[in-house]
Amino acid sequence: MAQLDTRQKLEILADAAKYDASCASSGSVKRDSRGGKGIGSTDQGMGICHAYAPDGRCISLLKILLTNSCVFDCHYCINRKSSNVRRARFTTDEVVQLTLAFYRRNYIEGLFLSSGIIRSSNYTMEQIVEVARSLREDHDFRGYIHLKTIPDADPELVHRAGAHADRVSINVELPTRAGLERLAPEKDAGRIEGAMAGMKRDIVDAGDATRRYKSAPRFAPAGQSTQMIVGADAATDRDIVTRAAGLYGKFDLRRVYYSAFSPIPDASAVLPLKRPPLMREHRLYQSDWLMRFYDYTPGEVAAAADDATGMMPLDIDPKLAWALKFRDRFPVDVNRAPREALLRVPGLGTRAVDRILAARRWRRLALADIGRLTASVAKVRPFLIASDWKPVALADKDDLRADLRPLVAPKAKQMELFG
């Protein structure tokens, strides 16, 4: 094989990395490069998206694989052993230089490095750790680093990864164990969860130590995340929400990413040909949001799904679906209701709710006031009582869903160019 230059390798190894949805650079500690020898800074809060691709995804990090050669044969993966893709491998120094060159030009927040498994899990993990070590120690790089850990790598290596990285992650890949067995026969749900449990311990321990003495060594201050593929196995939305809730609970995950399975070049015959609608992925993120920011229990979110099929409606969001199913909880009085009740109103976000709570300490709110606090008063109106408003007509109708849809559901618009 002819030698590939860095740019050709980048073409192959970025292409191979794009099925990982995460590109987040958020939630780490505050760092800057003043007084150092290198460059880079991070924020405690939100990350920065330096560009957006036409797939609507944020480009925050240089997201690449060290190599796309792999000894595993996971059917959903473009890099599986039996795939016909071109193979390439970066040297650790090439990744370091590329990261720094991009960072200096303000293209990226940092690096998200993953890899196919070559030789052994430990060998691969060592290479990944070496990139992070060189960036941190040789170049005093203080930007964001996200490392994917390898399922069966030695815990000591994973620990070293966490010492350099802001975030570590390992993908559960599929929502069901049966799905994982079918599509990733060499992977094992138990071992993956074991690795997540190990990382959780390291994260918690390091957090405790940091609280006691400031100079304690850090371990992945931006926590750990995971990803599952939607639509490649038989899991329903209800299954997926339940699994995600279990993962959040067990492993203190910062994020669970959902990636609608999409066709890949040279696909395996085991894989479904038809991809799920991208809207399904969107609805799952909304469900996730309800659990993390709106105090819905996993059971409540699952109740928004259709009883028979276990699937979330695609035409309306899960919060609205829940409200239409439990309409006895509405209307809610904006001048009296507690925070929890206001958070349930479709169309009221957390910020709008906080503003309502602050404003109503000083005066009674009318519908026009709510209109100024939300994007669409037409959407929230059927669920609210304000000083000059009561939604009498709607609450009594039998088929509230049918009546309300045209009122509250967003107008049909083209979400995907090529549905």
């Binding site: 794009k18 330096h50 036409p54 797939d55 609507g56 303000n106 503003r355 000083w362 090529f418």
Partner: protein, 462 residues
């Protein structure tokens, strides 16, 4: 009328000093003219004396107001100084106003502050440095056009991040320079003052094109966060039109190659699919049924029959079409000249649904939800087998394949073209023949059933 001249567009301290004096003097906000620098002579009111800020006492304002004013003052709107003065005037008279985000003026100024924060964030995101050489060595230079007066407020971010680099950010209003130790300010610049290119940009564009997934185009989502107004100074955006144009073609090629692939691991794929189906809980029917009854037959079959659901005997045996209806089906196939060993048989619903009457399990029709839930499996089976013809036996199977209620009497006896599935036929379910009470009708319907099967067989002989 009184005039205040501020030093610069983002002169918050100047505004604060001036407005403090105005409040103490009880000057009404509508009696004020605010201007910046020498550019705006305010000719209408020429001759008025500017207010000289003096320290004649103090009053306190809520913290929230200061924070809001610090951001909003950077807004491009020329009314901002006056609007903030009006708001301050009201804040001092109306306690709690700052917490009333439903107040139109608070809302308006919050909106301005939000626009400023967004502009600050987008500048951090979309500034693109190009490498250049000057007397001091390497210098990274960017040209950027912010919407609001944010450049100085944002300088700290770039110093924190690129402390050991020498860099300059040029904008139409002013430019800022960092030499590794000191931040200095210069006059406004033009795009021509910045370097024309950078050899690394082509590598960056390669990355941008490669990280894009053509199977999921969401242009609206991209434009919402990366509006076109920023594009002209971002090298990678030049690729967007061609990436979008090529996306559909690339995805179609991927799907077509996947479809064209035959043989190799279809057998393994089918076995894996069946194993996964054994654990299916997509609907509640698994709770009472004995087991999943998956499809059966040669993987390379040209003809696939889809029935309704396993019956009592199928549920126990774990095989489709082994009960009484299966026997009628076998007889009809033989009469139509179709080799039973060469067809693949499956069901629209894979678990037995029944009601208990005493000790007997009586077949119960699956509902629309159960059919939809189970459709996933039949779609996967058909995608793997890619038969030339698929036959729906009865209303449930037709509903599953066609995705809607179908009248069998109207649609039977002719081919239908289904997206994803291809050629599909509809006929009755053999159990329908068993239920007919009248012997004569049973004979007639059986003949019609065989007639349909022969028509299907003819399609395969072509």
């Amino acid at each position: 009328m009184r005039i205040v001249t501020l030093e610069a567009e983002d002169d918050f301290d100047g505004w604060r000093d001036a407005v403090r004096g105005l409040v103490l003097d009880q000057v009404p906000p509508d009696q004020m003219v605010w201007q910046v620098g020498e550019d705006d002579p305010g000719e209408l009111f020429a001759g008025e004396m500017p207010v000289v800020p003096v320290d004649r006492g103090a009053f306190s304002v809520p913290r929230g107001f200061i924070d809001l004013a610090r951001s909003a003052i950077l807004h491009a709107d020329r009314q901002r100084f006056a609007l903030l003065h009006t708001l301050l005037d009201r804040v001092l008279r109306e306690p709690g106003l700052m917490e009333d985000q439903a107040d139109p003026l608070v809302r308006k100024i919050e909106g301005m502050a939000k626009a400023v924060r967004r502009d600050i964030h987008k500048m951090r995101a979309f500034v693109r440095f190009r490498e250049a050489r000057d007397d001091g060595g390497t210098r990274y230079i960017a040209w950027f056009e912010p919407e609001h007066h944010i450049v100085r407020a944002n300088a700290g971010f770039f110093v924190d991040r690129f402390a050991t680099m020498r860099w300059s950010i040029l904008t139409p209003e002013l430019s800022i320079h960092w030499d590794g130790k000191r931040l200095t300010q210069g006059p406004g610049a033009s795009k021509a003052d910045a370097p024309e290119g950078d050899p690394v940009e082509v590598v960056w564009k390669t990355y941008y094109a490669s990280i894009f997934n053509p199977a999921r185009v969401k242009i609206g989502a991209m434009l919402k966060e990366m509006p076109r107004k920023y594009w002209k100074n971002m090298p990678e955006t030049a690729l967007v039109p061609e990436l979008i144009a090529g996306a559909q073609a690339r995805e179609q090629v991927m799907v077509a190659t996947a479809r064209a692939k035959t043989g190799d691991n279809v057998e393994a794929a089918w076995a894996a699919l069946r194993d996964e189906a054994m654990h299916c809980r997509r609907c509640d029917l698994y709770k009472h049924a004995t087991q999943t009854v998956f499809g059966e037959g040669p993987i390379d079959a040209d003809l696939v029959f889809v029935g309704e659901q396993p019956g009592d005997q199928e549920d126990l045996a774990g095989k489709p079409f082994v009960g009484p209806a299966g026997q009628v089906f076998d007889r009809a196939l033989a009469e139509a000249g179709i080799d039973r060993a060469r067809v693949y048989v499956s069901n629209a619903v894979k678990h037995f649904k029944f009601e208990l009457r005493g000790k007997r399990r009586i077949h119960s029709k699956p509902d629309a939800g159960e059919i939809t839930a189970c459709r996933w499996w039949i779609e996967q089976e058909l995608a793997l087998l890619k038969p030339r013809v698929t036959v729906a036996l009865g209303a449930t199977a037709a509903r599953s394949l066609f995705g809607k209620t179908v009248t069998i009497s109207r649609e039977r006896g002719r081919p239908h073209d289904l997206p994803e599935i291809g050629e599909a036929w509809i006929t009755v379910h053999p159990s329908f023949l068993l239920r007919l009470p009248d012997e004569e009708a049973r004979h007639a319907e059986f003949a019609k059933f065989v007639h349909d099967l022969k028509a299907v067989a003819n399609r395969l002989d072509r």
